[in-house]
């Protein structure tokens, strides 16, 4: 199995966080790269989704759906910016 790009997480990001992934820019906490989250590498399996930095492969975000809740871990991102509407 290979990766897809961050666009694949668009549904979860907008449903849970109200963030349009295709407009969001983030900074990788590990290597400092700043770029649109749509360009990240997403590894999606039944365990969950792991979003990795396209430049250094560090884990940016992890999303796990369990029966009671969705767990969203954004600790690999220093920040996310979203344009004002």
């Amino acid at each position: 199995m290979t990766h897809v790009d961050g666009n694949a997480l668009a549904g979860t990001f907008v449903e849970i966080l109200g963030i349009e992934i295709t407009e969001a820019i983030g900074r990788c906490r590990h290597c400092g790269s700043v770029y649109g989250l749509a360009r990240t590498r997403a590894f999606i399996t039944a365990m969950g989704a792991v979003m990795r930095c396209k430049d250094c492969d560090a884990v940016l975000a992890v999303i796990v759906q369990n029966p009671r809740a969705t767990v969203v871990n954004l600790s690999g991102l220093s920040y996310i910016t979203v344009p004002r509407r």
Binding site: M1, T45, G48, N66, A69
Partner: protein
């Protein structure tokens, strides 16, 4: 919402009394991966147990195999609901590796090439419950399934059987590894359906 798609079953197979609750038997061996597959040559491979006083017990590939590789036939259960029964493995028992290890800590953080981690109580790693596995189903472990070697702890959900294992650090408390930090259960007993926290 409420739409039911009758006829849709997901990955379903026949029910079997040897299956823990919520599991389905599969014929294939699904690959689930959270990142790029590490490429580790046997020449570059090593496994290290680190204890609280800084001691490192280290085995390279040849040394690992010299400890003694045994045959294991066991069932594996993935938290994503699939199970394989009576799977053939070969590996080195952790009991042999821990023979000379002195620690008063009760937990281990397992580390893998590529950065994956998972936590386990020492109690779950000893007494014939865990191996460093080098072969599965009659062949050397492929990279996509964790080769050259992975941890094998079949009595717990398979995310605990860390692929591309490179070492274990003893720790005093049950600190969460990668999936455990993201809501998965700290222990993961399939018979108690310990999938999530």
């Amino acid at each position: 919402m409420g739409v039911i798609n009758s006829g849709f079953g997901g990955r379903r197979g026949s029910s079997n009394p040897n299956l823990p609750p919520g599991q389905t038997l599969v014929d294939d061996w699904p690959v689930l991966t959270a990142g790029p597959t590490p490429a580790v040559e046997e020449n570059d491979w090593s496994f290290t147990i680190r204890t609280e006083d800084g001691t490192k017990h280290r085995w390279n590939w040849t040394e690992l195999l010299s400890v003694g590789v045994e045959d294991i036939v066991t069932d594996i259960h993935c938290v994503t609901h699939w199970s394989k029964l009576s799977m053939a493995w070969r590996g080195v028992s952790l009991d042999r590796l821990f023979e000379d290890v002195e620690t008063s800590h009760d937990y281990a953080m397992v580390r893998s090439f590529g950065g994956y981690t998972t936590n386990l109580p020492l109690e779950d790693l000893l007494d014939g419950q865990a191996w460093i596995a080098t072969e599965a189903q009659g062949s050397p472990l492929s990279a996509e399934h964790g080769g050259p070697a992975r941890l094998l702890v079949p009595h717990l959900y398979f995310w605990k059987s860390a692929k591309w294992v490179r070492g274990m650090d003893m720790m005093p408390s049950d600190d969460p590894g990668f999936w455990e930090q993201n809501g998965y259960h700290l222990r993961g007993d399939p018979w108690r359906e310990e999938r999530y926290q």
